[in-house]
Amino acid sequence: MVGYQGAEGLTSAVTTASIERPAERPAGPRSDPAVIRKRLAGFGLLAPALVLMFMMLALPVVALVLMSFWTQSGFELDRSISLENYRQLVAPSDETTWWYGIPFPLAYPVPAILMLKSLAMSLVATIAVIAVSYPMAYFMAFRVTRHKALWIILITIPFWTSYLLRVFSWKIVLGFNGAINSGLKAMGLIEEPLEFLLYNPTAVVITLAHAWVAFAILPIYVSLEKIDRNLLEAASDLGDSRLKRFFRITLPLSAPGTIAASLLVFIPTVGDYVTPALVGGPGGTMIGSLVQDLFLKQNNAPLGAAVSIVMMLIIAVLVLLFLWAIGYGKLRARRS
């Protein structure tokens, strides 16, 4: 089951990146020449992939950081190091821009507002995704006894099919001439198309939730599937009701997978720009839309680089704070 195993990989990617377990004990004495030779061979096999990843992931990120210290004026790219782009992002102004009652006393408030908005939209989408996918994962882990592989394939197919098309399909559903509007009109329930369906933040959140839901089910399912069924029986034998048993055993033991799933949805959706571009309209733009715009339309790559870096830092800090707040390290330690 590719999806299943993929989810394992995904889960470990998120969890080990933040909380490193104590290193495994070395296979033998360090001086043993056989061990050293074997390790060298191992690193030799690993080298091509690792070098490639380093060149294509680490170096470009360093280049992006470097570029964020350059400045662009018109068609001139000034390669001297300065903090101008970062200053621009936080430069204060006497004129305060208000957004949903929140004051932004900034000269260039767009990035700050879009950042906050993206975080809020992603958070809502992530909560929706977890709320919707947890029961489904629970169903697959505990209710499905036959044809389990079939259910997993059913969940996996959308996970692998074009993200672009999944997002686009919501434009067909919600559009001015879309399925809902034309369907309601054909049934005679409305005269004029409902305009509030598409091109707003709600449409973006619904679409994001739908597009990422398959991503979340698999990690949750894996963690539910791993739960020792004897524990559940023991809880029942000792007099727990089904509800009590769920809250005392199932939910805590599936927490690592659920947390991993929520991060797997939250982190990439903050930076998404396909969804806002297709169903967001002017009101549904997100921080990714700004990055794309700065790079490809406004020809201000250095500022775009600075916005991307700040976005990554804010996401990283929030994720670490979240993991720290819920005591994720302890949670994992208890499992193993």
Binding site: V14, A17, L165
Partner: protein
């Protein structure tokens, strides 16, 4: 057959409908004899599909996407096999951190990877954007998936088979070719298929890194803006969905076969 109505069963069916419903509207409207994606349906037609054959820019984009996807899936699997072997068969110090590093592309927003690659390619290396730069970006995002498929397959069978082969006089290479590779074959094939699908469907990185030539998703995106192109877009989208779904199912079946038979180590 029907027991007492179970809330979770009802939920699961509603969920699957929610998951597939919007996407399945695409093939539905692509077969509809009308120029808008609207109800009521007007009648069955295949004309949106037959007119695709004459669309040369689409065919060109399709060819580009196929070329990239083949290169990407072969290269990522080729790099993934030795790396997965190293991480599963050799007890390397720091292997957990190495795995975490290699899985990073899964949790970084693709727009960040897209712009970072764009910056280094254009401003630091001075390379022209082309289909090759798209392929390079795709290898980066496919490698973690290929690695996890391959690693789980390699962990799935008994390493004592490989030890037996060495005890019987095979060297490391012979053991790999005669024992490890045949046993890992289901994983290798699904890694190839997964790499192919991911690259074939990928849009964001391709959008940033492509030069003058389009890949199919980039072409599709450019068509979405034109309402009069909608039926053709729906037809193309439906075909892409169909191909991806078939490939996923094939990949899963091959893997399952591999687990059930041909795996004496699993006993």
């Amino acid at each position: 057959m029907l027991r007492r109505p179970d809330f979770l069963w009802v939920y699961a069916i509603v969920f699957i409908a929610f998951l597939y419903g919007p996407v399945l509207l695409m093939p539905l409207f692509s077969l509809n004899d009308g120029n808008f994606a609207t109800f009521p349906l007007k009648g069955f037609t295949l004309r949106h599909y037959s007119s695709m054959a004459a669309n040369t820019s689409m065919i060109l984009a399709l060819e580009n996407s196929l070329k990239i996807a083949v290169v990407v899936s072969v290269v990522s699997t080729g790099l993934g096999i030795p790396a997965a072997l190293a991480l599963t068969r050799f007890r390397l110090p720091g292997s957990r951190s190495i795995v975490s590093f290699m899985m990073l592309p899964l949790v970084i927003p693709s727009i960040v990877m897209g712009v970072a690659l764009l910056v280094i390619i254009l401003k630091f290396l001075g390379i022209q954007l082309s289909l090759w730069t798209v392929a390079a970006g795709h290898i980066l995002i496919c490698l973690p998936y290929c690695m996890s498929v391959l690693m789980s397959r390699l962990e799935g069978f008994d390493p004592s088979l490989e030890e037996a082969s060495r005890d019987l006089g095979c060297n490391a290479w012979q053991t790999f070719v005669r024992v490890t590779l045949p046993l890992a074959m289901p994983g290798v094939i699904s890694s190839l298929l997964m790499g192919f699908i991911i690259s074939f469907d990928e849009f964001v990185i391709a959008f940033f890194l492509t030069g003058t030539e389009n890949t199919l998703p980039v072409y599709l995106y450019s068509q979405l803006r034109f309402p009069n192109k909608l039926p053709g877009t729906l037809a193309l989208g439906s075909l892409i969905l169909l191909v991806s779904a078939v490939l996923v199912v094939v990949a899963e079946i091959i893997r399952k076969r591999g687990v059930q038979s041909g795996n004496p180590g699993d006993l």
